[in-house]
């Protein structure tokens, strides 16, 4: 059921990335201050925004799970957080490369966005040991949803606190002295953002399809009294 529409979605993602990267390398102008390395911005910032939105979306799915008591939403919430954490690794790596190239250090403590993202990322990394420590499946799903709701509320609060702790805020690409990006850069950024968001949706759908297929296989196995698969995951929720 979940596999429906996966193919056109994947094709759309590939096309969006192709268009996006063509714009990045052949259309968008070189940044006057930072030069070529600024192009990583078109990957780094969409990844970060998508990951953060994905965390909040995971929280919304968790609310739906708590309200409806339908385990489908727990699976949605799990997969949304899972893919966002993977995107988060990408954000930290691209961010470190960008920081090294333009500020000379792999890690810069007085950049509030960097620090806030690290804290949020660490919090969501504890989602896995948290799920793993609870045996009963229903309770695991409920507790994981409570975690996702709490952490979703934490994301904006954390950004506020870390930003306030800085004495001065570094100038960002968005806020140059002229106030804003040139339109060619903005267009490129938006296309890249759409591409990365599509990638997120595709991966979420992909993982849900895989989970639903393996859940179906398990149910068929049980119906046939065949031995179950060995080494199946104990933390990933089953999808019907």
């Amino acid at each position: 059921m979940y596999g429906k529409g996966l193919k056109p979605l994947s094709i759309a993602t590939v096309v969006a990335f192709a268009v996006g990267f063509s714009l990045v390398f052949f259309y968008a102008p070189l940044d006057a201050d930072q030069g070529f390395i600024q192009k990583i911005f078109y990957l780094h910032v969409p990844l970060a925004s998508t990951a953060l939105i994905g965390f909040v979306v995971g929280g919304i799915f968790a609310i739906l799970h708590l309200r409806t008591d339908n385990n489908k939403w727990d699976a949605y919430s799990y997969v949304a957080i899972h893919i966002s954490v993977i995107f988060g690794v990408g954000v930290l790596i691209t961010g470190a490369i960008w920081a090294k190239a333009s500020w000379g250090h792999w890690w810069v403590w007085d950049e509030p966005t960097l620090v806030s993202f690290l804290i949020v990322f660490l919090l969501y990394c504890t989602y896995y040991p948290f799920r793993y420590a609870i045996e009963d499946r229903d309770r695991q799903a409920r507790y994981a949803s409570v975690f996702a709701v709490t952490a979703g509320a934490f994301v904006p609060l954390n950004f506020l606190a870390v930003r306030m702790a800085q004495q001065l805020v570094h100038p960002r690409v968005f806020a140059t002295s002229e106030g804003g990006l040139p339109s060619s850069m903005l267009l490129t950024f938006l296309v890249c953002f759409v591409a990365v968001a599509l990638l997120w949706v595709t991966l979420v759908k992909f993982e849900l399809t895989a989970k639903s297929a393996s859940g179906q296989v398990n149910r068929l196995r049980r119906a046939l009294d065949a031995p179950g698969p060995t080494g199946s995951s104990r933390i990933a929720p089953e999808v019907s």
Partner: protein, 226 residues
């Protein structure tokens, strides 16, 4: 239905009485805090502290001492069947959240009544900053209590109880610690307390308390279902 006020008072009184009789958490928290101060004294090789160093030592110590209490907050409920009793009782379940958070606040205040004066004796030149520090401590206690109660109630039903509380709690209280140490740092500055952005930090602390109190209140019901 028993009125929530009565149930709240009963659970809180039960918790405080059992803590007074068994003394499971409080002495351990206080001892931990004092020992941590001694370790900081040698680790930093300083005999007096001020400014950011003082606020860092104070808040790191209080936070880790609080983790000890948070770890044990629901242990009696789980081992003696208190959760089942609460589920059977004709009361609003969120009351348990409120009462446990209130008990944790009492523990934290008791801890600070011991640890903060000792901190001042060990490291501070003057005690003038302790007055305004009370406001920061109380607001931070409230935040620690609501988040700690929520995490503790989840962790106690898992296999890795003692591991989960610090693991999940520490990233969650980072904003709280940023605001608390931001307010404390100028208070403990060399040459008398300063109030740089004091009100703003208190507002951040209050906002944190409010948001997590509401979240905790809203989701706590689901943790008791079975």
């Amino acid at each position: 239905m028993t009125p929530s006020r009565v149930a709240f008072a009963a659970i809180l009184a039960k918790d405080l009485r059992s803590e007074l009789r068994t003394l499971q958490s409080l002495p351990a928290m206080a001892l931990f805090a004092v020992t941590a101060f001694i370790i900081f004294r040698f680790g930093l090789d300083r005999t007096s502290l001020s400014g950011s160093l003082a606020s860092g030592v104070l808040w790191a110590t209080l936070l880790f001492a609080a983790v000890l209490g948070i770890n044990r907050l629901f242990v009696a409920e789980r081992e003696e069947g208190g959760f089942d009793a609460i589920r059977l009782a004709p009361i609003d379940r969120s009351v348990l959240f409120g009462a446990k958070a209130a008990a944790l606040i009492v523990y934290l205040v008791a801890l600070e009544l011991v640890a903060v004066p000792i901190f001042a004796i060990f490291f501070l030149d003057s005690a003038t900053a302790l007055g305004p520090l009370v406001a920061v401590l109380l607001l931070a206690d409230l935040g620690l209590a609501v988040v700690g109660t929520l995490i503790s109630s989840m962790a106690v039903n898992s296999r890795a109880r003692d591991l989960l509380v610090p693991l999940v709690l520490l990233p969650l209280v980072v904003p709280l610690m940023i605001a608390a140490s931001g307010a404390t740092e100028p208070l403990l500055a060399l040459g008398g307390p300063g109030y740089h952005r004091f009100g703003t930090w208190l507002m951040v602390l209050g906002l944190y308390d409010l948001i997590f109190a509401l979240v905790g209140w809203a989701v706590f019901d689901f943790l008791l279902e079975d």
